[in-house]
């Protein structure tokens, strides 16, 4: 199986503050990796630096996506290459319909990759197919992007967009935050359906709960900017039971 993502000794700083301090991670096609850790350990920084957010400066190490160093690429270039970040807090964009936004997103990618624009017919078929995956209400498709959506609707919308863009690498940043159990099931079900032998998923979460629904192949514990422990899904259960305090102890020792 080939490697989708390889992070080597990644050091990243944000506004002069060192957040990631030598992170290593390798993800192959078909795999689901969970990254857990206490607040402030660098989870969201990792998702932002992977997606190419400005102001997130790589000070050492590298990110190889499909064997290419993507450190200098813009967020849109990474998207065109098949990366997708589902936001913890999806942003509301008033005045822009969800559907038009997605059509633009698809066509911007098609343009960048030298492909034809998607036809209206194909686009609508894709929308109807993918939105049923997360049971996204028709009304929401035509409303402004995330505007007035409930927390659950926003997260479903993220997964809907992910389905439309068919990424090779998906990063779900705290997708479970703000979700009730029903919404959690719907969102997880969407993610599981999209999973294939060709793509890979990173699930970033604080709680084990999500991993009951999206079952990871590997679980990593991020602490103080590094991965301090890796294991299979039982590690998540272990964390749930013991909390994160033991990490601090272990570090102190």
């Amino acid at each position: 199986m080939d490697t989708v993502l390889k992070i080597e000794n990644l050091h990243c700083q944000v506004q002069g503050q060192q957040i990631l301090k030598g992170l290593n991670l390798e993800i192959k096609r078909g795999e689901v990796h969970a990254i857990m850790g206490p607040n402030g350990s660098g989870k969201s920084t990792l998702s932002s630096v992977l997606a190419g957010k400005e102001d997130y400066e790589i000070t050492a190490g590298q990110i190889l996506y499909q064997n290419e160093d993507i450190g200098e690429l813009s967020p849109e270039e990474r998207s065109w290459k098949g990366m997708f970040l589902a936001f913890q807090y999806p942003v509301e964009i008033p005045g822009v319909s969800n559907i038009n936004f997605l059509r633009t997103a698809l066509n911007e990618r098609n343009k960048a990759l030298g492909r034809d624009q998607i036809s209206a017919k194909d686009f609508l078929r894709l929308v109807s197919e993918k939105s049923s995956l997360v049971g996204l209400d028709n009304k929401l498709k035509n409303r402004s992007v995330n505007e007035g959506f409930s927390g659950g609707e926003k997260k479903r919308n993220e997964i809907f967009q992910m389905a439309m863009l068919e990424p090779t690498l998906s990063i779900l940043d705290e997708t479970d935050s703000g979700l009730d159990i029903d919404a959690l099931k719907i969102v997880s079900n969407g993610v599981n359906t999209l999973k294939s032998e060709d793509n890979a998923t990173i699930v970033i979460t604080h709680y084990q709960r999500l991993l009951d629904y999206i079952v990871p192949d590997f679980v990593h514990v991020l602490y103080d900017g590094k991965i301090v422990k890796s294991g299979d899904k039982s590690l998540a259960l272990d964390l749930e039971e013991r909390g994160y305090d033991w990490l601090k102890l272990e570090k102190a020792l």
């Binding site: 997606a51 190419g52 957010k53 400005e54 813009s74 967020p75 849109e76 990474r78 998207s79 065109w80 997708f84 970040l85 936001f87 807090y89 999806p90 942003v91 964009i93 008033p94 005045g95 822009v96 936004f101 997605l102 633009t104 997103a105 698809l106 911007e108 990618r109 960048a112 402004s144 967009q161 863009l165």
Partner: protein
Amino acid sequence: MSTLNFNKDSFSIDNLSWASVDAAKLPKKSEENWRYLKWGKLKKINFHGDFKNYLSDLDDLDLPQLDGYTIVIENGVFNDNLSHIPTHLDGLEFSFTKNNSLVKEDSYFDVLNTCFVNKSVNIRTVANAIIKEPINIVNVITSSEGFVNTNTHLYLSTNSSLTLNEFYLASDKTINGLTNHQCSISIEKEAKLVLNRYQYPNHNFQICKDVILQEEDSYYTSNNFSSSGILVRNDVRVKVSGENCHTELNGIFTPSSNEFIDNHTLIDHAAPNCKSFENYKGLIKSNGIGVFNGKVIVEKDAQRIEAFQQNNNILIHDDSTVYSKPELEIYADDVKCSHGSTTGQFDDEALFYLRSRGLSQDAAMEYLTLGFVHEILDCFKNLNHREFILKKFLLN
């Protein structure tokens, strides 16, 4: 104390009183209402008044598709060939009369307007006439260093309704003239007027003043789009003198490099039980300067007024400037009024969100622009016009 410079021999206006012109002085910086304006660029020009009609085809101008009736005023002179108004129209009367300015002169430009306007455009609706077709007034300047004065009177008789679209533009980018426009509007009982104004005079200077009088149960909406201009000053003064009126002032202003767009508005509620809504959005590009100064007065006996005023601005670059001053003066005690002003930048997180979905930086900025102005954009009900300003000026 200073004045503009005129090539006096070039003006051929009946009974033009140069003595009055020379006696009037440009507003000083110390005058609160004019404090942001700088006259340096205007004073360098020696304005002339030698005007003819040069245009032979409206297609040569940047205009959206115009439905309804069109009046073309070129350099302040009615262009008969390009205008399209039937000789007889049910419910509507057009006339051109000798200047009879109804606006009280309280600034230099008011005085100049009175002195220099040759003929006023008068548009009057007949009582109870619902005019379905809009009227377009295309004000175009085609002469460099020209000083153009225009004057429009609108009378909406009882229970009539009308939509007026005004376009202010220059025939090309090299023209640097000054247009000084006045519009007096009288809206009688139960009458309704929608005024859409599109200003994109490029490198011209423009002074624009509207004085509106609303009688009871009347409705007035102005939607103002100001895209460009070396110096643009818009004064809107609404006096609401009857009960149960609706007043709405919406605006978008987008000054870019070395442009200056100044909006001064006044809504004076002199009668009870009225509502007013004001919403201006400034999108200030690199090196552009914008001004919003909106005042709402609620007079002593004007009880149960609901007046809402809002101004939001986005500074696109570090060197963009905006001066925002919302003002409320309330003398009645049973009112519901609010005002607010915000100035900020596009949200980095929103930009990142859009780009992470594959939108290029430019496309993402367009979406954020759209998101910012859409509330006002939606007020322009003519889809052709909306599309025109969107494609031509906002998303480029």
